[in-house]
């Protein structure tokens, strides 16, 4: 269960604490429960996703130990590295056109990517969930306005929006922390509508439940109803969106870097920027400057997509591969709250968040 342990560190921000009762709390952690519930190919995909994500997080955290050189180091005691050197014993992945060590930049790039993902996902959860909660709970004109705005932003091509925001926040390119926050906030604005829609839809549904009415009749205040009764029951689908958004965040960051809106190469290592510099290399047959940063993006994004995909399948009773009867019967009931396979309306909406029919019930 080491993979599960590590991954629960990686997704710590998503684990709702109230799920952990006394005793078998570990089994009830969001991802761990799904590993236990899954079988066959789905378990394989989930575990592979967890392992890839864990490796990504570990590389990011241990970058100072793993990277042979600094991300902007051009020379060591033996003299300069030289530009576009093929892979060798000193430089396993070769050197770039700017004379940096490719391996070091790949390793340090994991740290940049992780920081951007963490900041982007956490801030979009906070803003999106809060707005969704308030909007869905109180309704009225604020709700209508927010839904229309969220739909409009949602329809905006994500990378273009991120580019505009990157221009606003940092004027294009900037220092390490400035660049990381600029990139992360640009991505945040793209993600907020997703959390907003999902949370709002859940809140609207739960608001009509009898237990909320009972709380209101008992004289419970709005704030307490919103946080204790509604919010806690509305976070069911969040881990799924988080994993998918995390991979999208990595891809958007790389896209920004590729278009020249990333972080200065001397401020931090960023995979997308390195790929942009590698475009010219590829034409002259130099493969190592493009291959390794690109593979790093693919593996990091793939780990989180695998995780998200299998969580998605496990949440959808039509797609979940069932274990033999009796093995996991308790867990099945716990997750199939809404997606009733006999209901013709649910199939599309039980999918990814971006397949929700447009304009819910605006």
């Amino acid at each position: 269960m080491t993979a599960g342990e590590i991954a629960s560190v990686g997704t710590a921000g998503t684990a709702p604490e109230h799920l952990g009762g006394r005793g078998a709390w570990f089994r009830k952690l969001p991802v761990v429960r799904q590993v236990r519930q899954s079988v066959g190919l789905q378990r394989g995909m989930l575990v592979a996703g967890l392992v890839l994500t864990a490796v990504f997080v570990l590389v990011a955290v241990l970058a100072p130990l793993l990277a042979p050189y600094g991300w902007s180091q051009l020379a060591d005691t033996d003299g300069p590295f030289g530009a576009q050197m093929p892979p060798s014993a000193e430089h396993w992945f070769g050197t770039t056109v700017g004379g940096y060590d490719v391996l070091s930049r790949v390793v340090w790039g994991a740290r940049t990517a992780l920081l951007v993902v963490l900041v982007a996902v956490l801030s979009s959860i906070v803003v999106g969930v809060l707005l969704g909660l308030v909007s869905g709970y109180f309704g009225g004109w604020l709700d209508r306005v927010l839904v229309v705005v969220a739909d409009a932003i949602y329809a905006f091509p994500s990378l273009l929006l991120a580019i505009l925001l990157a221009i606003v926040i940092s004027g294009g390119r900037s220092s390490m922390w400035g660049g990381i926050f600029a990139a992360a906030l640009s991505i945040t604005v793209v993600f907020v509508p997703q959390y907003f829609r999902v949370t709002r839809a859940e809140v609207v549904r739960i608001k009509a439940e009898a237990f909320v009415d009972s709380a209101r009749v008992l004289g419970t205040g709005h704030w307490r109803i919103m946080t204790r009764h509604v919010l806690r029951n509305s976070t069911r689908t969040l881990p799924l969106i988080v994993t998918l958004n995390a991979s999208e965040a990595i891809l958007t960051l790389a896209g920004l870097g590729f278009l020249g809106f990333g972080i200065e190469p001397t401020a931090a290592a960023e995979w997308g920027y390195d790929l942009q510099r590698a475009v010219a290399d590829v034409t002259s047959g130099i493969w190592w400057t493009a291959l390794f940063p690109g593979l790093a993006i693919v593996l990091a994004a793939m780990g989180m997509t695998l995780m998200g995909e299998s969580l998605n399948d496990l949440a959808d009773p039509r797609l979940r591969t069932r274990a033999r009867a009796g093995q996991v019967s308790g867990a099945v009931a716990a997750t199939s709250v809404e997606a009733d396979p006999s209901d013709p309306e649910t199939p599309a909406s039980a999918e990814l968040p971006d397949e929700n029919p447009k304009g819910d019930d605006a």
């Binding site: 066959g40 190919l41 995909m45 229309v148 705005v149 739909d151 409009a152 932003i153 329809a155 905006f156 091509p157 994500s158 990378l159 273009l160 929006l161 580019i163 505009l164 925001l165 221009i167 606003v168 004027g171 294009g172 991979s247 790389a254 896209g255 590729f258 278009l259 020249g260 809106f261 790929l275 590698a278 475009v279 590829v282 034409t283 002259s284 047959g285 493969w287 493009a290 291959l291 690109g294 993006i297 693919v298 994004a301 793939m302 997509t305 695998l306 995909e309 039509r318 797609l319 591969t321 309306e345 199939p347 599309a348 999918e351 971006d354 397949e355 029919p357 447009k358 304009g359 605006a362």
Partner: protein
């Protein structure tokens, strides 16, 4: 008959409501772009600041009206955008509308090829994966679909270029057509902007082949991304329809498995593709920006990244607004088509 007419008016109302929703959407998009682009200052300073002496800069700013009150500028911008005037680029002094019409066709052409690739790869393999659910073909195809999603389109493009253009030499490295082809097109007076159409106009099969070989790798790189999404969707819905009662009924009547898939299960499985196609347009446009940059495909995306490098925000603003509006309008059309195909959507 009565029931039929109610259904018709419900559809009419749905189309009307959906159409009216475009107006605030486009308005919000246009406003967002304006606010964001002007939040950092005026575009003249952004493009030319530091390159020109301060007085000259001030003169230019005054001449373009960027020193007027922001609300006046906003109103000016709104009225000119809605009359189709996007201003003049700063770096090369061209009307933005001209840039949009010149390069829009190239992007549209690339996107069309990519959709063809995505459909050709995504739909049959999605059906296959759904049919062989949880068995080996499904496992392999799903991993490939996730790989297609997780690979940034520019990395896929670079690798394709490296292997097939640089190492194997099968395809040209970049561009849309070779010089010979371009000359042939000029001689034939073919300038629709769609290279393939122009190539057919020249009547020379060598030119057609040349255009196709230029388009192959960019279309594949961009198409793979969307193919993964299509595969996933078709698979999910295939599983849904294969488990449906009417398919069981057909099977119990002795309908052959292959016919079951071809005639009974696949059609309903395709409807969701139409519904998500709207979102795919946004993804395709973003992908096109990155693909065009990778392959020097001179379309809107390539132009956008050039203007971004030049800090020419008037041009950037025009291209981004156009793309956002294209996405909003396609979403509308897609919703209408979905409502026509699938009565359940017309609530």
């Amino acid at each position: 008959m009565a029931a039929r007419s109610t259904a018709g008016s419900a559809l009419g109302r749905y189309i009307l409501v959906r159409f009216l929703l475009i107006i605030p959407t486009v308005f919000i998009l246009v406003t967002t772009v304006f606010v964001l682009m002007r939040a950092t200052g005026d575009p003249i300073t952004a493009a030319l600041g530091g390159k020109l002496p301060a007085e000259q800069l001030q003169q230019l700013i005054h001449a373009s009206g960027y020193d007027r009150p922001i609300l006046v500028q906003y109103w000016d911008y709104l009225t000119s955008v809605f009359t189709g005037d996007f201003g003049t680029t700063i770096s090369d002094n061209r009307p933005v509308t001209e840039v949009l019409t010149t390069y829009g066709a190239a992007t549209l052409e690339l996107a069309t090829y990519a959709i063809v690739v995505a459909l050709v790869l995504g739909v049959p393999f999605g059906m296959l994966a759904g049919y062989f659910r949880d068995r080996l073909p499904d496992a392999v195809l799903r991993i490939l679909a996730i790989l297609a999603y997780a690979t940034p389109v520019f990395f896929a493009g670079l690798i394709l270029k490296l292997v097939f253009s640089v190492w194997l030499g099968w395809f040209p490295v970049a561009g849309r057509v070779s010089t010979d082809g371009e000359i042939a097109m000029q001689l034939a007076d073919a300038d629709s902007g769609f290279m393939l159409i122009d190539a057919f106009k020249t009547g020379d099969p060598a030119v057609v082949l040349d255009v196709l070989s230029h388009a192959f790798l960019p279309a594949l790189a961009l198409g793979l991304l969307t193919a993964g999404v299509f595969l996933r969707l078709v698979r999910t819905n295939m599983i849904g329809t294969l488990g449906a009662g009417y398919v069981d009924a057909a099977r119990s009547r002795g309908v052959k498995e292959s016919r079951l898939v071809r005639k009974h299960a696949w059609r309903p499985a395709l409807i969701p593709i139409i519904t998500v196609a709207g979102m795919q347009v946004a993804m395709l446009l973003v992908g096109a920006v990155l693909t065009e940059t990778t392959f020097e495909w001179r379309g809107l995306g390539f132009q956008l990244s050039e203007y971004l490098q030049a800090r020419d925000f008037v041009a950037v603003q025009g291209i981004v607004v156009l793309m956002a509006v294209v996405v909003a309008v396609t979403n509308f059309l897609v919703d209408i088509i979905a409502a026509l195909v699938d009565p359940r959507v017309r609530y």
